[in-house]
């Protein structure tokens, strides 16, 4: 399967929208309008490439907190994101219970995750086990940062999937930093994909700044999973252009020169250059930018006017019997 021009533009559009939403979140934080933001700037190519290789609403995802672009690709809306940033009642992840960027979208088979890292990886293997038990052709994508592959939970999940040849894709987004700690302090191997060979599955390292390449790699991994050949570890390499979160100050552990250097490999620039070769004009790009700005403005306005949860809602639903609709 080849990507059409329309598909490529759709992918770039999703990256651009994710970027503009993410940038607005930083602004809202600096304006004192939101309490917290955790950024995915620099991760857009890996996430959009991966998401577009899935069959939306058919395949499953257990994401992690940097996956704004991934979630937008699956149907999460700009309004949803702004509502979540502001802890509003209508926020779809949790009705204002979870911190922002702790995604959940059942319609898209995107499973809720928590903040202790790597807990979502065994869930992906469990979903893979269910798929295998029912003999279905679905795949599960689970995402994680490279630092979190140090957790035992990740190894156990990958081992399970390898032992049972489960249809799981373990996508590691290696952005070089776990908050302030460099990747060299997380692993002695050059890529987390190298860990796969010790566990008996395929490991692939890919350029996580190239959205179209990422689509190819995840597409191949999905094919492998669907044909019963089992799981794949994919490490996508990129650079975390922003601090870890709105509470972090990355000037305390890395130079401005280093960050500026990596901005030249910004995945948006890489994708735009490829699309320009494919005929994307400056005017068309300006139109995309204008459209993105209008959407982000509208989403902020909508979320600001949306109500907070009633305090009584804090008491439920602790148990499934207490779930209320609406």
């Amino acid at each position: 399967m080849e990507l059409s021009s329309e598909m490529k533009r759709e992918m770039y559009w999703t990256m651009l929208l994710a970027r503009r939403l993410d940038e607005r979140a930083w602004v809202l934080h600096r304006q004192g309008k939101i309490a917290f933001h955790i950024s995915g700037i620099g991760h857009e190519a890996a996430q959009v490439g991966a998401a577009f290789a899935l069959r939306k609403g058919h395949d499953w995802v257990t994401p992690y907190y940097r996956d704004l672009a991934l979630m937008l690709s699956l149907g999460y809306s700009p309004r949803d994101f702004m509502l979540s940033l502001m802890g509003k009642r209508e926020e779809p992840n949790s009705g204002g219970r979870q911190m922002p960027s702790h995604w959940s979208m059942k319609d898209a088979n995107a499973v809720s995750h928590s903040a202790p890292v790597a807990t979502q990886a065994p869930h992906a293997s469990g979903i893979g086990l269910g798929i295998k038990m029912r003999g279905e052709d679905k795949v599960v994508l689970t995402t994680i940062g490279e630092g979190s592959t140090s957790q035992g939970e990740w190894y156990e999940a990958v081992n399970w999937a390898a032992v049972h040849k489960l249809p799981v894709i373990f996508l590691v987004q290696n952005n070089q930093y776990a908050i302030s700690v460099r990747v060299e302090k997380q692993m002695a191997v050059k890529s987390s994909a190298d860990k796969a060979c010790g566990l008996g599955l395929v490991g692939i390292t890919a350029d996580g700044t190239d959205v179209f390449k990422m689509w190819e790699v995840i597409n191949e991994a999905a094919e492998r999973a669907r044909s019963g050949e089992g799981p794949t570890v994919v490490e996508a390499r990129m650079y975390r252009i922003t601090p870890h979160s709105s509470d972090d100050d990355d000037r305390t552990y890395r130079s401005r020169e280093e960050v500026e250097e990596h901005k030249r490999q910004d995945p948006l620039l890489v994708a735009r250059a490829a699309l320009e070769k494919d005929g994307l004009t400056a005017q068309e790009h300006d139109e995309m930018e204008a459209r993105a700005k209008a959407i982000v403005d509208e989403a902020v306005q909508y979320a600001e006017q949306a109500p907070y949860p009633e305090v009584e809602e804090g008491m439920y639903p602790v148990y499934a019997e207490e779930v209320r609709n609406g």
């Binding site: 499953w60 257990t62 779809p92 992840n93 949790s94 009705g95 219970r97 979870q98 702790h102 959940s104 059942k106 499973v111 809720s112 928590s114 202790p116 807990t119 990886a121 065994p122 869930h123 992906a124 293997s125 469990g126 979903i127 893979g128 086990l129 269910g130 798929i131 038990m133 035992g152 939970e153 156990e156 999940a157 081992n159 399970w160 032992v163 439920y316 639903p317 602790v318 148990y319 499934a320 019997e321 207490e322 779930v323 209320r324």
Partner: protein, 327 residues
């Protein structure tokens, strides 16, 4: 109606639930070909096949974590932790994930699963095959914590646990696996999760217990009955959420309460029952609430005299009842 052991009741419950619902499956260490180290799953592998009676990697965290994933997908896993002492690697998955999933998604995702684990001492298991771990989990909203003390309840409650839409911690008193026998009717029945059970009516004092200690409490009650002490015994059965009404009602009648567990004293489950009574039954009480529990040492020691020293037994319970009756 047949008289069977506790372990046979548990095996029957799983057998019947596997037959009833194809989403149900069993997984854990040695549960397949071997039929479990306590033989709780014996015969199930041959009957249902390796896809539904799954020998897992030796890794408790992922037994639970993978179970959660399967539950989210729509399956109904029964995860066995071989000994409750080995549950700690899975603590994060149980507390951060299974317990919080419903709340943190406003009900969009739920985790219908059972985590079974044999618990308790008196079997020569030393520090790491004897622990009682219930207090770690009765502090966690989102979990249900169940401990049966009879074959009838074990079967009925386990079947309810499998059908429950929430994560249920199901702790089994391993010393009672073959020691405790009882009548269990043939055919379908369940015991609801939630209500405690008044297993002996009495008027002088109430003993609250669960699991093996409930079995011993009934023996102790018979012993002191001959001395003229008329004790009521309440099997708590579901520790969380607790059946407050039954607890309060019993003490309203007897005016005295003894809480018994084999887990160590401080921060143990008995503290919660004592607190409920202090807050809500103060004027009904004719004596301070008494707790009888294991000593505050890390776990049950191995050497026989040390183990006997640690364990609460019918004689210790009877003595605590005499002391309380005298007050």
């Amino acid at each position: 109606m047949a008289e069977i052991t506790m372990i046979e009741a548990i095996r029957q419950a799983m057998d019947e639930e596997l037959a009833r619902d194809e989403r149900v499956f069993v997984m854990g260490e040695d549960v397949g070909v071997r039929g479990g180290v306590f033989r709780a799953t014996v015969g199930l592998y041959d009957k249902y096949g390796e896809a539904r009676v799954l020998d897992t990697p030796l890794a408790e965290l992922s037994i639970v974590g993978v179970g959660i994933g399967a539950a989210l997908y729509g399956m109904r896993p029964i995860c066995e932790i071989q000994f409750a002492d080995f549950i700690y690697p899975a603590f994060n998955q149980i507390v951060s994930e299974a317990a919080k999933m419903c709340y943190r998604t406003n009900g969009e995702w739920t985790v219908p699963m059972v985590i079974r684990a044999p618990y308790g001492g008196g079997i020569g298991g030393g520090l790491y095959h004897s622990q009682s771990v219930e207090a770690f989990f009765t502090h966690v909203p989102g979990l249900k914590v169940v401990i049966p003390s009879s074959p009838y309840d074990a079967k009925g409650l386990l079947k309810s646990a499998v059908r429950d839409p929430n994560p249920v911690m199901f702790f089994e008193p391993k010393k009672g696996y073959r020691l405790i026998r009882g009548e269990v009717p043939d055919g379908e029945f369940t015991v609801p999760i939630g209500p405690a059970n008044v297993t002996r009516e009495g008027s002088d004092l109430t003993v609250f217990a669960y699991g093996m200690m409930h079995y011993y409490a009934l023996q102790a009650a018979e012993k002191v009955a001959a001395e003229g002490i008329d004790a009521e015994v309440v099997d708590l059965r579901t520790l969380y959420p607790v059946d407050k009404a039954t607890v309060l009602e019993s003490v309203k009648k007897t005016g005295k309460a003894l809480v018994v567990h084999e887990d160590n004293l401080t921060g143990g489950y008995g503290a919660e029952i004592a607190a409920i009574l202090a807050e809500e039954a103060f004027t009904d009480l004719d004596a301070p609430v008494r707790r009888l529990a294991g000593p505050d040492v890390p776990a049950v020691p191995f050497s026989h005299p040390l183990q006997d020293w640690f364990m609460v037994n019918p004689e210790k319970i009877a003595q605590a009842m005499r002391d309380l009756a005298k007050y």
